[in-house]
């Protein structure tokens, strides 16, 4: 019973943190609890949120993808760079780029059995190189203004389209995670890869699919970012992998694999988004803002550790 309670607190702690941050910023800042601000928050979280979907799948598998931020940036550049061919072809090109890099990551992790940390660390450096070469070091401005509608459209005049895309993908992702063999097998692979292999699960195939998924999600995030900025810039995406990993870990997904789900990742994404937004509204000096965000991460895993049952 006690284990169940601590388990519950540990697994659901993200919602307590979310609630606390809402109350805190709500009382501190008059503009915080407004429709306009929440439109902003939803729009702002959708980019890291999309990447977090792929990252959650991979972390449930027991893998990690450090290259998401750079895939995101490269795909944003590709969708702008291909714009002269038309919006649809450029979007497809960006998605293809993300998926190909994801597949490369996946193949090296699954088929060559190199640790995903190394594979994606390499990709993070390499894809950044590709980004610089592709953009020729400078920002490229998009030519087709219609492309920016993707980000600026509000469903029913209220809800930002990118956020809707994110939430729909999240819902589909969660549905797949719960109700399809691909999703269940993700837990099996992360929980006991050996057992999964022996049970005849095509572990390699699932891993590659999830890396491709991570690439595709990063590409989608890149397309949305490009639409918001209408620009390809080589300076994009330096820190995103960090925030995405932090959000997923905050959501309680186990780095070692086997545990986690997307609903709680949504909680993690929200907490990160709300903290950043709230601190911005309060005009907290950037140096203290950084100190705060770094400390909160350590604090949260410290609290999480406190609730951990003694013997697993």
């Amino acid at each position: 019973m006690k284990k169940q309670i601590t388990d519950f607190i540990k697994k659901q702690s993200i919602w307590f943190i979310l609630l606390l941050s809402l109350i805190f910023f709500g009382t501190m800042q008059a503009n915080f609890l407004t429709l306009r601000n929440f439109q902003n928050i939803f729009l702002q979280i959708s980019i890291n949120g999309l990447m977090a979907i792929g990252m959650t799948y991979l972390m449930i598998n027991g893998e990690i993808d450090l290259s998401v931020g750079m895939i995101y940036a490269l795909c944003a550049a590709v969708v702008i760079g291909f714009q002269p061919l038309g919006i649809i072809p450029s979007v497809l090109a960006a998605l293809a780029t993300g998926m190909v890099i994801g597949a490369i990551n996946g193949i090296f992790v699954a088929k060559a059995e190199i640790n995903s940390f190394i594979v994606t660390l390499g990709a993070m450096i390499g894809v950044r190189g590709l980004l610089f070469v592709y953009t020729g070091e400078r920002a490229i401005l998009g030519t087709d203004l219609r492309f920016t509608y993707l980000a600026s459209t509000r469903i029913g005049g209220v809800f930002p389209l990118p956020a809707l895309i994110f939430l729909v993908f999240l819902a589909i992702g969660e549905y797949f995670l719960r109700n399809t063999s691909h999703g269940r097998n993700a837990y099996a692979i992360g929980g006991n890869q050996d057992a999964a292999e022996k049970a005849g699960i095509a572990v390699k195939k699932h891993l590659i699919i999830n890396f491709v998924l991570s690439g595709a999600m990063a590409a989608t995030a890149g397309i949305i970012a490009a639409s918001r900025m209408n620009t390809a810039t080589p300076t994009l995406g330096r820190m995103n992998h960090l925030w995405v990993i932090i959000a997923v870990v905050l959501g309680g997904t186990d780095l070692k694999g086997g545990y986690g789900n997307l609903v709680r990742t949504l909680g993690g994404i929200f907490v990160i988004g709300i903290l950043d937004n709230g601190l911005n509204l309060m005009g907290v000096h950037t140096f203290y803002n950084m100190l705060f965000m770094g400390s909160i991460l350590i604090l949260v895993i410290f609290i999480g550790k406190k609730f951990e049952p003694l013997k697993s």
Binding site: N185, A188, G191, E197, G200
Partner: protein
């Protein structure tokens, strides 16, 4: 055992199988078959080729030579999936379960039933799982999480999985290694069930008494070669043992020597750890071997770990050589002169990636260093000395321990403590998963240690072992100390009674 009258159908037949690994021929021209409704035991010392042969059958290894026939038809097993499709299921010693998932998902792992569009059919999943569980008479539900089950129940999940796959051949690899006596009985019952359904069973174990209890046929392997296949009811333990090791061994359980006891080394008074054990009392003198008998989960290991400083007692006192001590860490325990040969050799005893020399000297080096520098000469001397004394067969000091047999690995763990010349050595299940030959050597060694004046605590769930080595025996059951016996008065029955009189459900076949 139940004998099946009808003519047995040959399910799986291996002919002239040879499997070569770099450097060794693991299986050499072995022919082996298993019939429907029959338990065929596979025995041999470690390194005899049992597990390689088993992996050939399960499609994990592809043999260089030889053929495999399934129901009279020649087949090729290219991967585990091929074998699974044929209904050949391997149940590993290390269970192949995903702890975070439900029983149902684990049972149907890899072939979750799905509706159109890829959606999992939860209803069918749980129905099928429930059906398999019911056949085995399990007491848990298909919706339980596997991580919440006991090891025995987890094993039943694996058996249920085999049933749900419509298994034709089930291979058990050391299935009782981590089971309690009661759980072993449940396992036997389940094996009977499988037999009645016409499933062929291959049973691999070190424990000959088990082999004789469950099997219909026994095949003995030695050094990768087939020695003999015999009907179980036409042979006996000594004959099998002889075939396994290739020579007669007079005494497996080297009798203990009555030695003179010296001063008291350790006295434990009323130590208690909540939810683990309560009010444990005993003392051991120099030259004495105290046996701690109890089943898995009785709290024996927890007591050992508490004495060794891994955990601290909630209450109670420990006196070491007459002084009350607070053993706050394993480092302190070692410093006092206590050594622990832990239950799980690979997880707790050895650093598998390190060499034999490094492992054997790991506890010793902080005591022979020179300003922090390792004294290579002394360490080498230690290695040579204990290699000879424990007759460890290794290619040299630099051989990685992961490449050694279980018996030799265990000797290294023991050697690690012997070179510190401790006052008290605790051996937790010292012969688990070790072949007969090495087992005898380790028993002899325990006697020798006591003779040199050490106090020895041996923890075991094997009655012959505990009877064979100890001067005195205490028993534990469900965290409580249930009996103390001197050498003269103790019998097998008394021991069993002592750990079961408190338990409500005993199921003896």
């Amino acid at each position: 055992m139940i004998s099946i009258k009808k003519t047995k159908e040959k399910i799986l037949e291996l002919k002239n199988i040879t499997k070569i690994f770099p450097g060794i021929t693991a299986v050499d021209d072995v022919t082996f078959e298993v019939n429907a409704g029959e338990v065929h035991a596979l025995v041999g010392e470690n390194g005899a080729g049992k597990s390689t042969l088993m992996k050939v059958m399960a499609g994990i290894h592809i043999p260089e030579k030889g053929s495999i026939s399934y129901k009279g038809e020649k087949i090729k097993l290219k991967n585990p999936l091929d074998a699974k499709k044929k209904g050949i299921i391997l149940i590993h010693q290390e269970l192949s379960l995903v702890p975070q998932m439900t029983v149902a998902e684990n049972i149907l792992l890899g072939s979750l039933p799905s509706k159109k569009g890829g959606r999992i059919n939860w209803k069918e999943l749980h129905n099928r799982a429930q059906e398999a569980i019911k056949k085995l008479g399990c007491q848990f539900k298909s919706t339980d999480l596997v991580e919440d089950l006991t090891i025995a129940h987890q094993q039943m999940v694996e058996i249920a999985r085999a049933i749900s796959y419509d298994a034709k051949v089930v291979i058990f690899d050391e299935p009782t290694a981590s089971l309690t006596q009661e759980e072993v009985e449940v396992l036997y019952k389940n094996i009977e069930l499988l037999k009645e359904q016409g499933i062929g069973i291959i049973y691999i174990s070190h424990k000959l008494n088990e082999i004789f209890e469950v099997s219909d046929k026994i095949t003995v392997l030695r050094d990768g070669k087939l020695v003999d296949t015999l009907d179980t009811d036409k042979t006996d333990e000594p004959e099998i043992t002889k075939k396994m090791i290739g020579k007669n061994i007079e005494d497996f359980f080297a009798s203990k020597k009555i030695s003179k006891y010296g001063d008291e080394v350790i006295r434990v008074e009323n130590i208690t750890r909540k939810d683990e054990f309560e009010n444990i009392n005993f003392s051991i003198k120099e030259g004495e071997v105290l046996g701690l008998y109890g089943l898995l989960g009785a709290g024996r290991t927890e007591v050992a770990e508490t004495i060794f400083g891994i955990n601290q007692p909630d209450s109670g006192q420990i006196y070491f050589k007459g002084h009350e001590v607070n053993i706050s860490s394993s480092k302190k325990a070692v410093h006092l002169g206590i050594g622990l040969v832990p239950e799980s050799r690979k997880e707790q005893g050895l650093v598998l990636g390190m060499s034999t020399l490094e492992n054997i000297s790991l506890a010793k080096i902080p005591y022979v260093h020179n300003y922090g520098f390792i004294q290579n000469k002394e360490v080498k001397e230690i290695f040579d000395k204990y290699k000879d004394r424990l007759s460890i067969s290794t290619t040299g000091p630099n051989q990685k321990v992961m490449n050694l047999s279980g018996g030799n690995q265990q000797k290294i763990v023991i050697g690690k403590w012997l070179c510190l010349n401790p006052d008290l050595v605790i051996l937790d299940e010292p012969t688990r998963g070790i072949d007969v030959g090495s087992k005898a050597e380790i028993h002899n060694l325990i006697a020798e240690l006591a003779e040199t004046g050490m106090a020895v605590l041996v923890i075991s769930s094997e009655i012959p072992e505990i009877l064979g080595v100890s001067h005195r025996i205490i028993t534990m059951h469900q965290g409580e100390q249930t009996g103390v016996f001197t050498d003269e008065e103790v019998t097998e029955d008394k021991l069993i009674q002592s750990i079961t009189s408190h338990a409500e459900d005993i199921c003896k076949v």
